[in-house]
């Protein structure tokens, strides 16, 4: 009887240790949503470099195909690597990828958005569930990035701006591939900044404030969007 008791205590500790191990041992990519290098506050007034006063209400963005390259030329490619960053859910900005190690990371590669093959793969689950509000019904396909808010510069209903950037059909394939050279040990998380000021500084909200379909305009926004990302 006592033996059994000891066993279960051990088992309990073992499980505990295992779960603790997983947490501290995994290397994560942390994305930091900012405006002008400071953490973005939703519904807070900002002035962009293009002189638009604006508030951001929603930021959502797919990160996919995360790959880590080490200086010994080995590569880690995450399987089923589809992650939705959602300003409503701060935990979504930290993505665990692989085990920590002493190796040197030389590069991180990921996509902003969803690749064309996944876009034609039917009903999917998890972060790719169409319930997440990042899927177009009338023209199948994922919205790679959603930025919504208000600005007095927008002569629209309730001064709203809405950017739904996506598209997987060429020539309007909006996914952006990002590569950041790094020179750091794989024993600590990777930090990537997303500075919305860089997005809005390329726009005049009085002229561009509602883009919600794939096409030329969405391609321009997708190109602006990759300027927001930087390695910290």
């Amino acid at each position: 009887m006592i033996k059994k008791g000891i066993h279960s205590v051990f088992l309990f500790f073992f499980c505990f240790w295992l779960s603790a191990q997983n947490k501290s041992d995994s290397l994560a990519v942390n994305f930091h949503l900012e405006f002008n290098k400071l953490p973005l506050k939703l519904n807070h007034k900002y002035v962009s470099a293009a002189n638009d006063t604006l508030t951001v209400e929603t930021f959502r963005c797919y990160i996919s195909g995360i790959q880590i390259q080490y200086d010994d030329n080995s590569v880690f490619t995450q399987k089923e690597s589809y992650h939705l960053l959602d300003s409503e859910n701060p935990n979504s900005f930290s993505i665990p990828i692989t085990k920590k190690s002493d190796k040197l990371i030389s590069k991180i590669i990921f996509n902003i958005g969803i690749d064309s093959v996944t876009n034609v793969s039917g009903a999917l689950a998890g972060d790719l569930d169409p319930i997440k509000g990042m899927y177009w019904a009338w023209q199948s396909g994922y919205i790679n990035m959603k930025i919504e808010g208000k600005s007095p510069s927008c002569k629209t209903r309730k001064n709203e701006f809405q950017f739904h950037v996506g598209g997987y059909l060429k020539p309007f394939y909006a996914m952006q591939c990002m590569k950041f050279p790094l020179d750091k040990k794989a024993d600590d998380d990777i930090n990537i900044g997303i500075d919305l000021n860089r997005f809005f500084s390329n726009l005049e909200l009085s002229k561009t404030n509602s883009i919600m379909i794939p096409g030329k305009e969405a391609m321009k926004l997708a190109a602006h969007s990759n300027k927001m990302f930087y390695s910290q």
Binding site: N119, V120, S121, G122, A123, L124, A125, D129, P130, I131, Y135, A137, W138, Q139, S140, G141, L169, F172, P214, G215, K216
Partner: protein, 339 residues
């Protein structure tokens, strides 16, 4: 010894239990008719089972999918009309709201690459998101559909039969609907029987078949009677609808006024015709192609040469088109309202 028996009985029970969890559903084999092309739909990602099909069938006929529980898929795709909406040029949805297109017949979807008149939908599984969320169709949110089904004891049972547990997700809903709609296969019309040498055309039908091959078959390709491509068939654009068709999806000027080539299978039952339902009957459809083409830059190449058909030709052609009606498909008890 006694203990040993206890252990092995327990192990056996566990193993049997596992066997049941793995094989909870009865597989259905999707048969491809002889000489037909390979289906486009990827069955490996959604293996059809009797239980999945039955769940899909229940969902297809259930107005629970719409916001106010008044409209089901079958409202616009009724089996008696070869799974389309009869008597309405433009299909209507919730609260009588009118759409801008005539609903397509749901048939042989396993061979379709794109869906809807403009081909905007790229996979059969995501097709239902369109009518469910469209404000003039079911005007509902996918998450509400999930919640409503979760609250229904009937659906909890159907989901657990199909998937092994009661969990309702949008993926499971969409895959089940696809299991039902992909099975809507029509390959047993008189035409098919003639091709299989089980029947023969009347003289009139045979003449009509020859005319069909000479004038229509380049777009309405056998055996599916559609090339699955997008063409401008010379229909005069309806100014009140401002519908450019395929161009909305590709933004390519060449695709202006192009629409999906619909199948001619069960054509006798699927009127009114064309994407805007503007042509009432088959004689008028033939009149359109012989005498009433609206010329525009994207007009289908196949229509640049005038089609000439006399009265007798037209009668023969219609006799052939009527031989594309598949009674056993329309009345297949498996596809009817579930009771």
């Amino acid at each position: 010894m006694k203990r040993y028996w206890k252990h092995s009985t327990l192990m056996c029970l566990i193993l049997i239990g596992f066997a049941f969890t793995v094989r909870f559903a009865t597989p259905i084999y999707f048969e491809v008719p002889d000489k037909w092309p390979k289906p486009v739909y990827d069955f490996s990602k959604n293996p059809i089972t009797e239980e999945g099909f039955q769940l899909g069938r229940n969902l297809f006929y259930d107005p629970i999918l719409s916001r106010d529980k008044t409209i089901s898929c079958a409202s616009c795709h009724s089996p008696n009309n070869a799974f389309t909406h009869v008597d309405h040029d433009l299909s209507h949805g919730i609260e009588g709201r009118k759409g801008k297109r005539n609903s397509l017949a749901l048939v042989n979807l396993a061979w379709s690459k794109n869906f809807m008149w403009d081909g905007g939908v790229n996979n059969l599984e995501v097709q239902p998101i369109n009518p469910i969320t469209n404000p003039v169709e079911m005007d509902e949110k996918l998450e509400n559909v999930v919640t409503k089904l979760q609250q229904s004891p009937k659906y909890r049972t159907l989901f657990s039969k199909a998937y092994g547990d009661e969990k309702v997700t949008s993926q499971r809903i969409l895959k089940a609907l696809a299991q039902f709609t992909v099975m809507l296969k029509s390959s047993d019309s008189k035409y098919d029987k003639v091709m299989r040498h089980e029947a023969s055309f009347t003289q009139q039908e045979e003449k009509g078949y020859q005319l069909f091959k000479a004038n229509c078959a380049s777009c309405h390709t056998e055996p599916l009677f559609s090339s699955d491509k997008f063409e401008n068939n010379g229909l005069k654009p309806d100014d009140s609808l401002k519908d450019g068709g395929r161009i909305k999806i590709t933004k390519n000027i060449k695709d202006s006024l192009r629409f999906k080539v619909p199948t001619l299978r069960n054509i006798k039952l699927t009127g009114p015709y064309m994407h805007d339902g503007s042509i009432q009957n088959l004689p008028m459809v033939l009149f359109h192609y012989t005498d009433d083409l609206y010329k525009s830059p994207s007009l289908s190449k196949q229509l640049t040469k005038k089609i000439t058909l006399n009265k007798e030709d037209k009668d023969n052609l219609i006799a052939f088109l009527e031989a594309l009606t598949d009674e056993s498909f329309i009345h297949n008890p498996k596809f009817q309202y579930p009771r």
